[in-house]
Amino acid sequence: MNILIVDDEAPARDRLRQLLEEDGTHMVVGEAGNGKRALELAAELEPDVVLLDIRMPGLSGIETAHHLNTFENPPSIIFATAYDEYAIEAFEASAIGYVLKPVRRERLDQALELARRLSNSVLGDVARKSGIPDRRKHLCKQSQGELKLIPVSDVQYFLADQKYVSVFHTNGQDLIDDSLKALEEEFADTFVRIHRGALVAVSSIDSLRRTEDGRTQVMLRGGSTDENEGLIVSRRHLTDVKRRLKKG
């Protein structure tokens, strides 16, 4: 199996490499010191398994795993942690592969044997149970081997089409693979659904405006009437939108 090692601490990476290379059946194809580098390497090297430290600066292990899942061919994931009572409980409950540091040889072999791909809902579950913030700080967009991270704080709104979700952010527009429903659940604190196919960042709403035909339209900060054409608030969501705006 081709393995990618991700840990922010050099000695921890060395240790995993030593254990894996001794055996001869596995190959370490790369090492990354942070989540972003891990995503780049994973896109480039297409490893079978990613060994992922949970606590890292920048993108956490859980967030990195989320993004790995958006790949066309997502790798299997094994988490590594020194001490995280709650995360471990969650791993056990969801049958997620993990190893504890200091890593024991047999445990690592066992985890590699059982390594599997993880669904985002399973990851979300782990994050909730272990008290690690589940909400991603970035959205990940991958096309032709190129990786783009869009900070969630830059996002103004999401629009769902038949199949894809477009994300409109301060630096343009991108198609992403996440479903609108999952996005709504994940970012419930900061985004509000205005109709069946649109999710808007509460902070980027300037006001609500009555159109000539009596419908209500969301006006974005710095946006013009034309630009906001798609952002009609459906009657079903109107009270909710107003309530969220009042709350700020």
């Binding site: 601490e9 050099a10 000695p11 060395d14 606590r55 600066p57 020194a82 200091p102 890593v103 700080k137």
Partner: protein, 352 residues
């Protein structure tokens, strides 16, 4: 600089009883009635005990209820003024209440009563009221003060005992260090050996019977050992600048305070910064005080979420409060990019 509202609240509450509560009022009325009985017993003329007692009771109960009503309103404000001030304020206000009520009572009886109820001049009556009420109020205040101090010391001691337990090293650190050592045993056995020695020293310092205070020299040594172990793990991401030449090494400090603060600075600060950063530990002598400041950079998105940190900070605050009372301060300052803890405490040198 932000002080610590959560810790202050915990200690300052309930200096005075809740005068608005029915239970307290009942006790006060009971005491007033007992005083009335004592005073009557000491002075009544033969055969007139019940008449005298009812007059005395009526007057004293009126004073007691008036005073309680004033206390009920004033207590929340008075408690905010600090312990001693609260008692002084209460004493003065109760005295004033008694004087006002005495003047009113005298006026009313002279004007409306058909028989002579108060057999004294106005000045005499006032003086007697003031003398007796000051003695009774002073006794009550003293009783409340002693019992609140007693409760406070019990709470503080219990908290300090728990704190000593909580000061133990984070498991996260322990397991990560072992992982580092496991890795080093192959690549750099000499470093691994040193790391094990350091870890052993650190654990010994943590497990030894909790000392109240230790010398700065020892405390800083423990912190330096801790830094060496973390340095192996974090490499270039961690640097620590020590500006402590001004500090007298024989001075005393509550044990295991600098090391946990350094641990916090690394765990909540440096570790979460992709490129790491520098922790700055600096010490100054200010007159008879020592001031030690520990500053670390924080990741911008972490600046507001520091929940995990509260316990360690509360713990250190308690230990300083127990050792120095109000002569020490523990301040925390937090900006978007920095986290600073400042300890200031009296410089007391070790005699051994």
């Amino acid at each position: 600089m932000a002080s610590a509202p959560e810790a202050d609240d915990k200690y300052s509450q309930a200096i005075l009883p809740d005068f608005c509560a029915a239970g307290t009022i009942l006790v006060i009325l009971l005491v007033a009635e007992l005083v009335a009985i004592v005073l009557t017993l000491a002075s009544f003329e033969a055969g007139a005990f019940l008449t005298e007692l009812s007059k005395m009771s009526m007057y004293l109960l009126w004073l007691a209820l008036g005073g309680t009503a004033v206390m009920c309103r004033i207590r929340p404000w008075a408690e905010k003024q600090g312990n001693t001030q609260a008692f002084v304020i209460c004493f003065v206000l109760l005295e004033v209440t008694c004087i006002v009520l005495a003047v009113v009572t005298y006026g009313l009886t002279v004007r409306f009563a058909e028989a002579v109820i108060i057999d004294d001049t106005r000045a005499g009556f006032l003086l007697r009221t003031i003398a007796i009420s000051s003695i009774v109020i002073a006794l009550a205040m003293r009783y409340l003060y002693v019992s609140s101090e007693w409760r406070r010391s019990i709470v503080l001691e219990a908290q300090a005992r728990i704190s000593a337990l909580q000061a133990l090293i984070r498991p996260h650190f322990l397991f990560n260090s072992m992982n580092t050592i496991a890795s080093l045993t192959r690549s750099n056995p000499k470093q691994a050996e040193e790391a094990i020695e350091d870890l052993a020293d650190l654990l010994r310092a943590n497990l030894s019977a909790p000392k109240d205070r230790t010398t700065l020299k020892e405390e800083l040594e423990v912190a330096a050992i801790y830094q060496r172990i973390e340095k192996l793990r974090l490499g270039d991401r961690l640097s620590v600048r020590w500006d402590i030449s001004e500090l007298p090494m024989r001075a005393l400090i509550p044990s295991l305070t600098i090391q946990p603060l350094l641990e916090n600075a690394i765990y909540h600060g440096i570790e979460l910064l992709p490129d790491g950063g520098e922790v700055n530990v600096s010490g100054k002598r200010i007159n008879n005080d020592l001031r030690i400041t520990i500053r670390n950079p924080v990741a911008p998105d972490r600046a507001r979420k520091r929940d995990g940190n509260k316990m360690a900070m509360a713990n250190i605050r308690q230990r300083f409060e127990l050792a120095y009372g109000s002569r020490a301060t523990v301040n925390v300052e937090q900006t978007d990019s920095d986290y600073t803890v400042q300890l200031q405490f009296p410089c007391e040198e070790s005699t051994t």
